[in-house]
């Protein structure tokens, strides 16, 4: 199979280059391509770059519009992480909420996707349709009743009041991606293991799960990013600064002192919230794209 794939490429390379037309056309096309690539990168990166640059300016020259700060300073970061703002705490809260959501969503989703990819039962397509349909509900529709429900059972200002609703946003995506991944793994391998005396559980644990590991990992990344970015639930369920997540903390940032414009601090806080995600994106970009295009959802 690899042979048939490689052969045409090889023979293509052996062909003499197209004499007249190609170089000129390629030169013009290449130039416009470089232009397009540059334009896209600038479009995507310029706003983030501006946030980064602004966060390194001194508070006194925050309104400068030079490409790079005239005087580099970490003043804004020091203020953002100052104990009084509890922003560092909010970052830890985000980590806790997003981390727990991811782990729980993965466990639930692995079971559910195995069921949807491997077992035969009635209403299978209906079950998948219902799970996917739940991802279409506007978050606000569940916020109001959940707010009352959580007040009744004393969950306001707790981590679980954010984790449980986050799960319901994360599960449809996770189940859809994992089901797609598991369906692509040939069932023969598990059947072979079962003929060799494995139980269904062993075949799942020793054969399918290791093979699905890349898919599980991709799902974990996407779920984590999704719950790290969650806003409306965290905003509504929590008003105690000690429990609130980083996205909410950032939106409420007024700086250490009231009389100065807190933009530098806000930008620094924004960079701090985004940096973990940027690192994840740069490390695992290929997997993320794979997961996004397999899932098709958010």
């Amino acid at each position: 199979m690899t042979d048939t794939l490689q052969r045409p490429r090889f023979s293509e390379r052996m062909l003499p280059p197209d004499p007249v037309r190609k170089p000129r056309k390629r030169g013009w096309g290449a130039a416009s391509l470089v232009l397009a690539i540059t334009a896209i990168s600038v479009y995507c990166l310029a706003p983030f770059f501006w946030m980064l640059v602004s966060s390194f300016r001194r508070t006194s020259d925050i309104f400068e519009t030079t490409i790079l700060p005239t005087t580099w300073s970490i003043e804004s970061y020091r203020q953002a992480l100052d104990g009084s703002s509890m922003f560092g705490r909010a970052m830890l809260n985000s980590l806790l909420v997003a981390g727990t959501t991811t782990v729980l969503a993965l466990v639930f989703a692995i079971f559910a996707s195995y069921t949807l990819a491997r077992l035969n039962f009635r209403f299978k397509s209906a079950v998948l349709a219902i799970i996917i349909a739940t991802s279409m509900f506007p978050g606000i529709s569940v916020v109001v009743p959940l707010l009352q429900f959580f007040s009744d059972i004393g969950w306001i200002n707790t981590y679980q009041s954010m984790i449980v609703p986050n799960l319901s946003f994360a599960l449809p995506l996770a189940i859809w991606i994992l089901t797609t991944f598991m369906r692509q793994i040939p069932v023969d391998l598990e059947q072979a293991a079962m003929i060799d005396g494995c139980t269904k559980w062993q075949a799942f644990r020793l054969v399918l799960l290791p093979l699905a590991a890349p898919g599980v990992f991709t799902t974990a990344i996407l779920t984590f990013i999704q719950s790290w970015n969650e806003f409306i639930i965290a905003l509504s369920m929590v008003n105690d600064p000690a429990v609130q997540t980083a996205t909410v903390a950032v939106s409420k940032f007024t700086g250490a002192t009231d009389f100065q414009s807190p933009y530098g601090v806000q930008m620094a806080a924004g960079v701090l919230v985004t940096i973990p995600l940027i690192i994840v994106v740069l490390l695992f970009q290929r997997r993320i794209v794979e997961g996004l295009t397999a899932g098709g959802t958010k």
């Binding site: 079971f111 739940t134 606000i140 449980v164 806003f231 970009q285």
Partner: protein, 324 residues
Amino acid sequence: MMTTTQIERQTTARRPQTVKVGDGRMAALLLSPTFLVLALVVAYPLLSAFRQSLYRSQSGLDDDGFVVTGDVFVGLGNYVNIFTGTEAGRFYNALWNTTFFTFTTVGLEVIIGVAFAVAMNRAFRGRALLRASILIPWAIPTAVSGLLWRWIFQADGVVNSITGVEVLWTAEGFAAQAAVIVAEVWKTAPFIGLLVLAGMQIIPGEIYEAAKLDGANAWRQFIGITLPLVRPALLVAVLFRMLDALRMFDLPFVLIGPRKSSVETLSILAWDESNQLNYGTASAFSIILLIYVAVIAYAFIKILGADIVEAKARRATPKKKATR
């Protein structure tokens, strides 16, 4: 021959049945955690929201002068009030804003996203850079991107100083709407580009070769080949983006702020009502939004893509072949 087919038929007839019974129980067991969560955080709240929307919380004096507190059943009163009451203007405004934002942003995102995908599909050298830079707007939390764009659109911010105009982007009016649209499109157009690119990469090169031989220029190839073949992937992307845009909350909330009529969406309106403890009205708003989202999704699937879910499945299979 007869006997073997009979035996086969018997076994095939029997086996699925036995498998089905065992699998059904197993399936129910394995799916139960998921459905427990979804029942607790989606189904119950939705039913509860619907019930709540039929009540109005009151504390005041009734006709006989007694103090009345607690919820009073008002039937469809909250809905009637929303559509025809004194605050109806605010609702229609929010409904219009939601619709306006959804169609403008998704429209712009599709144009920019498809253009991105075309460029990326041809690029070979800068691909890694492109992929990384395209994922960054997608990865930035919406709340942070609201903050970031508020800074950029600040009265003495970089947009005004580059363009040399004096516009109060983050105050009210059309400028504020434009700011929200720009920020939203920036964040989500690359995502559409990514999905469309995935659709483009499974189009076999021979089709383009054949079109070239027939004398089709680049534009004709794009209209005649790329767009129709990318349509399923694009439709899925557009549907999900629309559903997402209809519940837009974080971005206008952080970028402009709550209670600003020019950017108030239905989600923000419902949130604001519940913040003022008008749970009945807030629930009614969220039920209306839910119905609106469902109607748009249904209409979209009916008119444009009869089988979105099948399109997804179809998309998954050729991709598998391509990677092999």
